[in-house]
Subunit: 287 residues, 2 copies
């Protein structure tokens, strides 16, 4: 049995496009339709096989039984308000955003039974955005966090779980607040740091020399995610600002600690700390 | 003609070991001998073909016409003092350290004509250290900075240039001070940031959950170089502290700028800045 009749993907970017590709390849929907603001990216999505057809008007969602929200976080509620009147009354609505508490709160007032919303965050992605960079295996082996609340229909959670598992993900549930604190640490903070690091170096000149010309792998890797889409990260930073600022405060004290030892020329303290951090980092899961 | 009769590599780590491998493969020396404090790494270097033989005593440098210093920056002068009396009187001494001004100053008092010292920084490497991770092609296509001073024998600079070019590097000369300011920006600062980021996240727990378990590629890449050797980076941070602290101050203002916009929820300012930084980062040379 095909799980979904018609999926509408709003925002056919890296995640939305990859989900379209994966669902079509695995026969998880009879039809995948794309919705967006701009024709060029939708045309790429169509050409790459991520969607069967697309539209710039919300009527493209007609009778959809699955609505996937792949737009920037602050746009989720507005897009849902536009699409939902056209979709099936029992539609399942999922988002794929990197911040959950404000999205879950906003969508609770928009998606009403028998339709159901489940907040989802497939932790997968690269710094490359758009349908052009989508690929069907993006999700395989990674974790998808679901953030149901006491009000969430359990059968909707079950359908969402089956979908993410079908495209190769491990599924785990937690509260929106716990999600947002965890992701602030492992994703949002590294993005603030990467953008700041690139900003600090790019404008410098040393006797007319551009430092970038002397960069090895350290700067390139440490700033990789500073190539991520501004409109997506603008919303994540703003919508999750309390947790981002909290994580940033922890980072600033860690910088301050190293800085004091460097100022003092305290080689033994530095070596001990660098050794401790290096050992801790070995616990990071490998790709 | 074989350029060197006997090379002694002091510190057969990633760089020293890779240089040994590259020189032996390309017939750039009749013999490569290893000098170090610990037998295990030297035995690995021997087994991997990075050296022909090794010793723990400075007499291993007997009659060497090339001395390569691959030890932590603060140890360079002491190791040279130990080895040089055994080497050929006309020996060429090169270091491969990531900080140049203090090494150049210290070695000027240790290496006397007809021996000659040339400060070198082959900008190549990975976060993996030791002879076990050495490979002959490490240097290919990367830049080696030489930092001769007014007192440096021009023929020594020429021999050093030919050596680095022979293992595949582009060679460029600049003053030790310019080198140290450039490298503080593109290498030392990213290392401080990576160690600090890993330190800030590794100790956190969110309702008992370890954030590392939810990490995607952003944290992994942004902290990659926090797996670098503590004894090497301890010395780099301390020896280049003025420039590292200056680079760090620039980074802290960049963080502060983003932070103020996040606090204010200023989405347009954030989007503009993230877009500007993303575009600037496109200028970073690719691997």
């Amino acid at each position: 049995m095909i799980p979904f009749e018609r999926v509408v993907v709003a925002g056919v970017g890296l995640i939305g496009g990859s989900l379209g590709l994966a669902m079509r390849e695995r026969g998880l929907a009879r039809e995948v339709v794309g919705f967006g603001r701009g024709r060029p990216n939708l045309a790429v999505a169509l050409e790459r096989g991520a969607i069967d057809r697309y539209g710039l008007e919300p009527t493209i969602a007609a009778d959809a039984d699955l609505v996937v929200l792949g737009v920037p976080v602050a746009a989720m509620a507005g897009v849902t308000r536009a699409l939902l009147p056209h979709a099936s009354p029992r539609a399942l609505v999922l988002d794929v955003g990197s911040v959950k508490a404000p999205v879950v709160a906003a969508l609770a007032g928009v998606v009403r039974p028998p339709a159901a919303f489940v907040g989802c965050h497939p932790i997968a992605g690269t710094e490359h955005s758009g349908a052009a960079n989508a690929f069907a295996t993006l999700f395989e082996g990674s974790c998808c966090i679901l953030t149901p609340t006491a009000d969430t229909d359990p059968s909707a959670v079950e359908r969402a779980t089956r979908l993410w598992e079908a495209v190769g993900m491990r599924v785990e549930s937690m509260s929106p607040a716990v999600h947002d604190r965890l992701l602030a640490l492992v994703s949002h903070l590294p993005h603030v740091v990467a953008y700041s690091l690139a900003a600090a170096v790019e404008g410098e000149r040393v006797e007319g020399r551009d430092p970038f010309a002397y960069s090895g792998g350290a700067l390139r890797d440490a700033t990789r995610v500073a190539s991520s889409p501004p409109e997506m990260w603008r919303d994540i930073f703003v919508e999750n600002r309390a947790e981002v600022l909290r994580a940033l405060a922890g980072f600033e004290s860690a910088v301050g600690r190293l800085k004091r030892w460097i100022e003092a020329g305290d080689a033994p303290a530095l070596e001990a700390e660098l050794g401790r951090v290096r050992a801790a980092r070995e616990r990071l899961p490998r790709r």
